[in-house]
């Protein structure tokens, strides 16, 4: 008991900051974000985890209590049905895989397109940079849904994309782009690109010009400088930008719903269906829980990479 209290004290001290002589203000500045994390992160996760083991019941809400009193004794009704079902039913595994592949492709495409984008902004004259950054985030000024809908118009058989390709004589009949995996990927990359460009730009902009000049001075050609200095030193930006794209992309359900087909069934859509159509709350909670677990993997990997990169990644 005493050892436990000591360990708890040590943990508290670590979270609370090791330095002695903290003022009331110092405690408050730590307490507010901690309270926020507790109320809006830890408690909801705990609630979702609890929901995942609730018994299903034909009622409103559609779950029964975890505990009841039977003959003066508490009875536990918790079940691992949903936890097991998601892991064993091929449909869910397929949806998870499809979401993972799609999110990874989206992140990769964002790196490939967003890096030169961010690089160009960071190398632009200082007085123009803010304008270019503004352009990059300008799409956020309109609703995400509106922009996703706009893509339906653009990609349809009679839309401007097919119209342009037809009039150029590149194709003979309209390409069935809309309602395909390609359309999902395209719209996802479009939607998430700013999430990559912004952190990437922030890192590239801070890259010391001296280092690039020194590399050139030592005889390195521009491409060699880029490979050996620019990319390694902007790795923190690449990784954090890619994760900012990957995380929301993994749970994406609106874009596949709007421009995808039955092949683009992703885990976000399944979760939505289980919750609202099938009213299987424990199953939906389980999917949410597993998705959360999946997302922890890249986040922890990033932490480790950044720690390995050490001082210069700051």
């Amino acid at each position: 008991m005493k050892a436990g209290a000591r360990a708890a004290g040590r943990l508290g001290a670590r979270i609370w900051g090791r330095a002695a002589g903290l003022t009331a203000i110092d405690h408050l500045t730590v307490a507010i974000p901690l309270a926020w994390l507790l109320v809006f992160l830890a408690l909801p996760i705990a609630a979702v985890a609890a929901l995942a083991i609730h018994p299903l019941r034909d009622s409103i809400p559609p779950v029964g209590p975890l505990f009841t009193m039977v003959d003066g004794h508490p009875a536990f009704h918790g079940t691992t049905r949903a936890l097991r079902l998601v892991l064993t039913d091929g449909l869910y595994l397929h949806a998870f895989t499809s979401a993972l592949v799609n999110a990874a492709l989206t992140a990769l495409a964002c790196v490939a397109i967003g890096f030169p984008f961010a690089y160009a902004i960071a190398r632009a004259p200082a007085r123009h940079r803010h304008f270019y950054v503004l352009l990059a985030v300008l799409p956020f000024w309109t609703s995400f849904l509106l922009r996703a809908y706009a893509w339906i118009g653009m990609l349809r058989d009679s839309g401007p994309l097919n119209g342009a390709l037809l009039s150029l004589g590149l194709i003979e009949r309209p390409l069935p782009i809309l309602y395909s995996p390609a359309a999902v990927l395209l719209v996802m990359v479009y939607s998430y690109l700013p999430f990559f460009v912004l952190p990437m730009y922030a890192v590239l902009e801070k890259l010391p010009a001296d280092l690039l000049a020194a590399a050139a001075d030592l005889g390195a050609r521009p491409w060699y400088v880029f490979r050996t200095v620019t990319v390694p030193l902007s790795f923190a930006g690449i990784a954090s930008g890619a994760i900012l794209v990957f995380v929301p992309a993994l749970g994406e359900y609106v874009i596949p719903e709007l421009v995808g087909n039955s092949d683009t069934l992703m885990i976000g859509g399944i979760l939505w269906d289980e919750f609202f159509q099938n009213r299987d709350w424990p199953l939906a909670a389980t999917i949410a829980l597993y998705t959360f677990g999946l997302l922890m993997v890249p986040a922890l990997l990033l932490r480790r990479w950044l720690a390995q990169l050490g001082g210069f990644a700051r």
Binding site: A214, L218, A220, R221, L309
Partner: protein, 371 residues
């Protein structure tokens, strides 16, 4: 690049020759037609205040910028149109610009690898450079695990391993603590003498320029106003600006009156009359300016017995250990600076501000400057 050095026709020819080099940014003239010859194997300092154009000149030599006009030859080869990465020149940056994600050895080997030097040769050259700057044991360290002086040596080795014809050093000591500088200066000169590479150092610190270099090019507003050895530049400054930039000087403006027997007099506006060596053939009534360095002045309670001797009052005296800086106010109100050697211990009469003193200097101690 190495071949260019080896096949150079004339070892006495300057390794770096600049003619009429000019550069402007919009309407701002940064360099106004600079000429400079740098002798092979020398350490040359470009000395000037910020905005004097010294850093721009360095960048033009390195090829990081292009001149508006003028030519640049390194080892007899015209550098027009030669990109920075193809010039036989390397630059040590003021920040040292070490690659933070690479070990010391990888930093030093970077240029060789970029150039495609085979691995074995690269290793040998890197070892040679590590040995040269005495960092053998630290080859696997990261730059952030090194002290300031060690970082500078890595930066130096990273350049020297490329065997450049000319090494440019941008404020090489500015990033170091004052206490370290004397050691690092000595080390830098030692390494330069060992490899024989021509060093061009940019600095705003006149002491650093004096201590490090064989020649100093003093720059002012985009021009080289004087080029010479530290002794020449200090003892025979070309202008009052140079004289004042390299140390302090007492200036006298007046009209010349030539006398017989190789003597001249300078009549100043405030009635002060100086006796000069008539090295200047200028006729009587010519306006002239002369200067006297404070350490060439004598201050005593009685007459100094020198060619020029003026009574006055000791205005201030600051004691800095080996020296004292004195200011003497003459009867006419003119202030003269004098640097006095301090006699050891408590011996000798101690002067105090307010004491009646004489300040004097020999005719030979004066320097003629353009008026």
């Amino acid at each position: 690049m190495m071949a260019a050095v080896a096949t150079s026709p004339d070892p006495a020819a300057p390794i770096l020759r600049i003619r009429g080099m000019a550069k402007s940014y919009g309407a701002t003239r940064v360099l106004g037609g600079v000429d400079l010859d740098v002798p092979r194997g020398a350490i040359v300092a470009l000395l000037g205040r910020s905005g004097s154009g010294k850093t721009t000149l360095l960048q033009l030599i390195a090829g990081l910028q292009a001149p508006d006009a003028g030519s640049l030859h390194i080892d007899g080869i015209d550098m027009r149109g030669v990109a920075a990465f193809d010039r036989p020149v390397n630059m040590m940056f003021q920040s040292y610009a070490l690659f933070p994600h690479m070990s010391v050895a990888d930093n030093i080997g970077y240029g060789l690898k970029a150039r495609g030097t085979p691995r074995e040769q690269r290793r040998q050259l890197t070892d040679w450079a590590l040995d040269l700057v005495r960092l053998e044991g630290l080859a696997q360290r990261r730059p952030d695990q090194l002290s300031g002086g060690q970082r500078q040596r890595v930066a130096l080795a990273r350049c020297l391993v490329m065997k450049p014809a000319v090494l440019l050093l941008d404020e090489p000591l500015a990033a170091l603590d004052r206490g370290l500088r004397a050691d690092v200066q000595r080390e830098l000169i030692g390494i330069q003498r060992k490899v024989g590479t021509t060093f061009i150092i940019v600095t705003h610190d006149q002491e650093e320029a004096m201590a490090l270099s064989d020649f100093i090019a003093v720059m002012e507003q985009g021009d080289i106003v004087q080029f010479g050895s530290p002794r020449e530049v200090y003892e025979r400054p070309a202008s009052a600006f140079v004289a004042g930039f390299l140390g302090s000087i007492n200036l006298f403006d007046g009209l010349l009156a030539v006398e017989a027997a190789g003597r001249a007099r300078l009549h100043c506006d405030d009635g002060t009359v100086l006796v000069l060596d008539a090295a200047t053939p200028a006729g009587a009534g010519t306006p002239a300016r002369v200067g006297v360095r404070p350490e060439r002045m004598a201050v005593a309670r009685g007459p100094t017995g020198l060619d020029n001797d003026f009574p006055g009052v000791l205005d201030s005296l600051s004691y800095v250990g080996n020296l004292s800086h004195a200011v003497v106010r003459l009867a006419g109100g003119r202030m003269l600076q004098a640097t006095l050697m301090n006699p050891g211990g408590a011996a000798g009469a101690v002067l105090r501000p307010g004491d009646a003193v004489h300040a004097g200097f020999a005719a030979a101690a004066t320097v003629s400057l353009p008026a």
